[in-house]
Symmetry: none
Subunit: 544 residues, 2 copies
C-alpha cells in the first residue's frame, strides 16, 4: 500500500469490532467471516476483525482467516497498550494479538490525562512508556502498527501538551498511522477540522506517520466530523457499515464513502465496488439480523424515493433537479411510486445473475415483477433469499419442477413451566405425495421447527437420498410490523447447505411455524434442484 497519490483515502472498517458494541447486535464467527469477505469484495483496504485478547471468539475468527485469507483487504487485530508496569512481551493481551497472525495491528492508547490518572490509575509517564513499548514490541515482531489515540479531541482540549506527547511516543516507536478518535462523540465538525489541522502541522511530514480520523455519532455529526478531518489532511477514515456502534453508533461508511468519492473527489474504492454499496449494506443488516434503515442516506430504500406528479416527471426528465447523486452510483435505485419501470429493470438485472435473460417486452418479466411486488408488500424479502427468488422466477417461466406435494402438516407442543422442569419436545406429522404415492410420517424434535424438518426429511429421503446430505445451517427470524406484538407478521430466513454449497430461502406468515415451514420446504426443494441441475443457478448462490 502506498500513500503517494494525494487524493487517495484509506477506509478502515470496524464493523466487526466497534460495530458489534451496538446494543442488541450479536454475531457468530460465521457471521463475522461472511461480513469480512463481503467488505473485502467491496474494496475496503483495512478491516478490523476484533480484539483477540478480550474475546475468545475473536481468536478463532482470526485463525479461520489464516486458513482462508481475504483477497485484497488487510485484516487488522485490535488491542490496548500493555498494562502498567509489566513488559510488553509479558502481556497476555499482546500475545493474543500476535497469535492472530495479522500483518497489521491497531493499538489504542490514552490521550487524555484524566483517563490515565482516573481510568488506568497510573502516571502520565507510565502511559507514555506503555504506548511506546507496546508499539516497539509489536514492530520487533514484524507487525505494522496503526495507533488509535483514544479520546483524542477531549484530551487535546483539556491538556494539549500531554496529548501531543502521547502522539510523539507513538511516532517514536514506529506507528505508521495516528488515528485521532472522538471516542465520546461530543466534538462538532468545525472543532474537528481545526484540531486535525493543528495536528497535521505538528506532525509535519505527511508520509509517515499519516493521520486518520475515527468519529462517533453522539452529536449526530459523525459523518461531517470525519469529512472535516479529511478536508484538513486526515488520510484514513474509520467507521462502520450502517453506522453500527455503541450508543449512537460510529461514522457510517455507507454515507462517508459516497460523500468522499462522489462529491469531494477522493479515491476510496473502485467505481464498480461503489455500485455494490447498497447491496452490501443490506446484506450486512441481514447477517446481523437488524432491520435495514429505509431512510439511511445513499443506501436506504427511501433514499431516492419520489412522490408527487410534477416532481416525478421532473426527476425523470432531469434527475439532477431532485437527486444529489445518481442512485446507481451507490447500487441503489430511484423509486417512483406510480411507475414500476425501475422495478422491471431490477428484475431483469436480477434474473441475469441467475443466468436467465429476460426482455422488457417479455410478459413473464412483468408477471414476475407483479408477483414480487405483491410478495414484498406482504413482507417477503429476497435480498438475502436468492434461492426463493430463483424458484419464483422458475415458476413464472413455467420451469419450476415439482419434486413433491405437501398435503398437510401438524405440530403439537406440550410445555411446562421452566420453574418445574424444562420440556422442549415438539411433535410433527406430515403427509406428502411423491410420484403419486402418499406418505405419512411423524417425528419429534427439540422445537417445533426441528420436528417439522425432521418429519419432512423422513417422508422424502427414500425418494431423494441426497436429502441426507442437506443440513439446515442457519435460521433467522425477523418480526415485521413489530407494533402488532404477537400478531405481527414473521419472516423466516433459512440457510441450507450440502457439502459444497449454501442457499437461502424465505417464508412469511403471522404464524411463525407456517413461515418456518415455507422456508424449510423451499430449502429442501432448492437443494433437490441444485443436485439435479449444475447450470448457472449455482454461481451466484455459491458466492459466500
Amino acid at each position: 500500500m502506498n500513500a503517494n497519490s494525494s487524493n487517495r483515502l484509506w477506509i478502515y472498517d470496524t464493523t466487526l469490532r466497534d460495530g458489534t458494541q451496538r446494543e442488541g447486535l450479536s454475531v457468530s464467527i460465521e457471521d463475522k467471516l461472511r461480513i469480512a469477505r463481503r467488505l473485502d469484495q467491496l474494496g475496503i483496504p483495512f478491516i478490523e476483525g476484533g480484539w483477540p485478547g478480550a474475546n475468545p471468539k475473536d481468536v478463532q475468527f482470526f485463525w479461520q482467516l489464516q486458513e482462508e485469507p481475504l483477497q485484497q483487504a488487510e485484516i487488522v487485530a485490535f488491542c490496548s497498550t500493555r498494562r502498567p508496569h509489566i513488559s510488553a512481551a509479558e502481556d497476555p493481551l499482546l500475545q493474543a494479538i500476535l497469535s492472530a497472525g495479522t500483518r497489521w495491528v491497531t493499538i489504542f492508547g490514552k490521550s487524555w490525562d484524566l483517563h490515565v490518572t482516573e481510568g488506568l490509575k497510573t502516571s502520565l509517564e507510565e502511559n507514555l512508556a506503555m504506548i511506546q513499548d507496546t508499539i516497539e514490541y509489536l514492530r520487533s515482531q514484524g507487525r505494522r502498527v496503526i495507533y488509535d489515540a483514544e479520546h483524542w479531541f477531549d484530551g487535546f482540549k483539556y491538556n494539549r501538551e500531554y496529548a501531543l506527547e502521547t502522539l510523539h511516543a507513538a511516532i517514536a516507536a514506529g506507528a505508521e498511522w495516528l488515528v485521532l478518535c472522538d471516542t465520546n462523540g461530543g466534538t462538532l465538525p468545525h472543532e474537528v477540522g481545526s484540531v486535525v489541522k493543528e495536528v497535521v502541522a505538528v506532525v509535519g511530514d505527511q508520509n509517515s506517520p499519516q493521520i486518520g480520523i475515527h468519529t462517533h455519532n453522539d452529536s449526530d455529526t459523525a459523518v461531517a466530523n470525519a469529512i472535516a478531518g479529511v478536508l484538513e489532511g486526515a488520510r484514513m477514515v474509520q467507521g462502520t457499515m450502517n453506522g453500527y456502534g455503541e450508543r449512537c453508533g460510529n461514522a457510517n461508511l455507507c454515507s462517508l464513502i459516497p460523500n468522499l468519492q462522489l462529491k469531494l473527489g477522493y479515491s476510496c474504492i473502485e467505481t464498480e465496488q461503489l455500485a455494490q454499496l447498497a447491496q452490501t449494506s443490506r446484506l450486512i443488516s441481514e447477517v446481523v439480523n437488524l432491520a435495514p434503515d429505509d431512510h439511511a442516506p445513499f443506501v436506504g430504500r427511501s433514499a431516492f424515493a419520489h412522490k408527487g406528479g410534477i416532481h416525478v416527471s421532473a426527476v425523470e426528465r432531469n434527475p439532477l433537479t431532485y437527486e444529489h447523486v445518481q442512485p446507481e452510483q451507490v447500487g441503489n435505485s430511484r423509486r417512483i411510486v406510480i411507475s414500476d419501470q425501475a422495478g422491471l429493470s431490477n428484475v431483469i438485472a436480477k434474473a441475469r445473475t441467475f443466468g436467465i435473460e429476460l426482455d422488457k417486452q417479455n410478459p413473464a418479466a412483468r408477471q414476475i415483477l407483479q408477483h414480487l411486488k405483491k410478495l414484498e408488500s406482504e413482507g417477503y424479502q429476497f435480498e438475502a433469499a436468492e434461492a426463493s427468488f430463483d424458484l419464483l422466477m422458475r415458476e413464472a417461466l413455467g420451469k419450476r419442477q415439482q419434486f413433491f406435494t405437501i398435503k398437510g402438516f401438524q405440530v403439537h407442543c406440550d410445555l411446562v413451566s421452566r420453574i418445574e422442569q424444562q420440556n422442549n419436545s415438539a411433535l410433527a406429522t406430515v403427509k406428502v405425495t411423491v410420484n403419486g404415492q402418499d406418505i405419512l410420517e411423524a417425528a419429534e424434535g427439540n422445537g417445533p421447527v426441528a420436528a417439522l424438518d425432521e418429519a419432512l426429511r423422513k417422508a422424502l429421503v427414500n425418494f431423494y437420498p441426497q436429502i441426507a446430505e442437506f443440513e439446515l445451517s442457519d435460521y433467522k427470524v425477523r418480526i415485521l410490523d413489530e407494533h402488532s406484538g404477537t400478531s405481527a407478521k414473521t419472516r423466516v430466513l433459512v440457510e441450507s447447505r450440502n457439502n459444497h454449497q449454501r442457499w437461502t430461502t424465505v417464508g412469511v406468515s403471522t404464524n411463525i411455524l407456517a413461515a418456518s415451514y415455507q422456508a424449510v420446504v423451499e430449502g429442501l426443494e432448492y437443494g433437490l434442484l441444485l443436485h439435479l441441475s449444475t447450470e448457472a443457478v449455482l454461481q451466484p448462490i455459491a458466492s459466500l
Copy 2:
C-alpha cells in the same frame, strides 16, 4: 419577538409539514394538534402546521387552533408563491393560506433557474414577479412573511446571480426571514458555511431580513449543515423532531437544539424545556406510531448506555470522562447495560437504578452475578430485558411475588401447504393456579404465540383485571448458535406496555414456543408488579 440578543436562535419546527412527507408516516388532525401543543410546551417559537391550500385536513387543523390557540408558539401556514401569470389575490392557494388565520406565513419560491424553466415552465422574470407579488399581497393582508428559498444551494452553485435576484425580490416585498433551503440534501457542511457567509455579506444589515437555514439529510450531514449555517450567521433553524422527513429526513431538532444550546452557547429554549426533550421525542414517535430510534443522539434509549466493567466504574466516578453532555440536561438518563462482560460493579449500579441498594459484601450481589453469568452462557441477554433482570434480582433477594403458577401449556397447529390454502390458526390450552384455584382455559390465535398469550390472559383476567390494559407491543426473535439450524437456541424479547409504561422480558429455549412462553409469562408478571408497587421500579422503566 425580537432579534437583538446576538446568541438568540429561532427554532422553526416543520414536523407537521415536511416531517409528514416521510414514507410510512401518517397523522390525523388530533395527532397534529397533540404534537403542536407538545412543541409549544417545549418552547419552539415557530411551528409550521401544514399547507392549507394543498391539503384539506390542514385547513381544519388551523381552524381548530384558532379556537384553542397555542400558548407561546407562532403557528405558521405554508404555501408556494402564486401560480404564473395570475394575480396573487386570484390564487386559491393564497386564499387558503389567509383563511388559516395565522400571523406568520411561510412562502416558498424557486431559487434555481433550472427549476423555473424545467419545473414551473415559466420565465426567470415571471418567477421573480411571483415571489415579489405573493409576499407583497400577504403583507398587505397583515401577514408577516418567512421566505423559504427552495433549492437555494444548488441554485446558487449553478446561477449565483439569478439566485441572489430571487432573494432581493423577497427582500423588496418585505419578507422578514430568508431561509436558505438545501432541498435535495446534497450539500456538505463546508459548502453550506461558505454560501451562508456570502449571503449574509450580500444581504448586509442583519436586522431585517434575517437568514434561516433548512437542511435535509441525504448526505447524512443535515445537523452539521444547519450548524455550519448558524456559525456563519443564520439565526433561524428549520428542522423536524426525530429528523422525520422525505427520503432520508430533515435536520433533527432533537440533535440540533442540544448541540446549539449546550455546546455552542446559543439560546434556543429554556433549560427546563430542554430537559423535556427526550420525553417529547418519544411522545411524538408514539403519536405518529413509529418505533423510537434507540440509537438517536441525545434522546435515544442507548444514547447514554454504558457497558464494560472499568468503564462503568469510571463513568460513575466522573461522568465527564465518557459522556459529552449530561443526560439529564436533555431529559435522558444514563443506563448501565447488563451484558456478558458484567462485573459486580455493573450489577450493583444496575440494582441501584431499580431502587435496590446492594453492597459488594452482600452475598446476594455475588449470587445475582453468578446466576446472571449462567443464564447468559445459556443465551439469555438482559441488555434489552430489564424487567426480566429486575425479576431475577428480586428472586435472589427473596422478594419475588408469586401472582400465579402455571401447571401446563399445550399448543397445536395445523398447517397446510401455502400453494393450496393458508391457514395460520393455532390453538393453545393452559392450566394455571391462582390463589389455590385451578383454571383451565383454551384460546385460538393467528399464530402459536398469539394463542398462548390469549389463553393466559383469559385464565388470569378475572383475578387481575388490570391485565386487560396490558398489550404486547413488540416481539423480537433471535436465533443463537445458528450453526445448529432448527435445533438452535432461540431468544425471544417481548415488550409489553400499559397506558403509560413499557417493559421488556426475555426467554431462551431451543423451542421457540417455550422461549416465547417464558417471555410472555414474565411480561404479565412484571406488569402486575408495576401495577401493585409504585415504588422505585417505576422510574427507569417509565421513561416513555
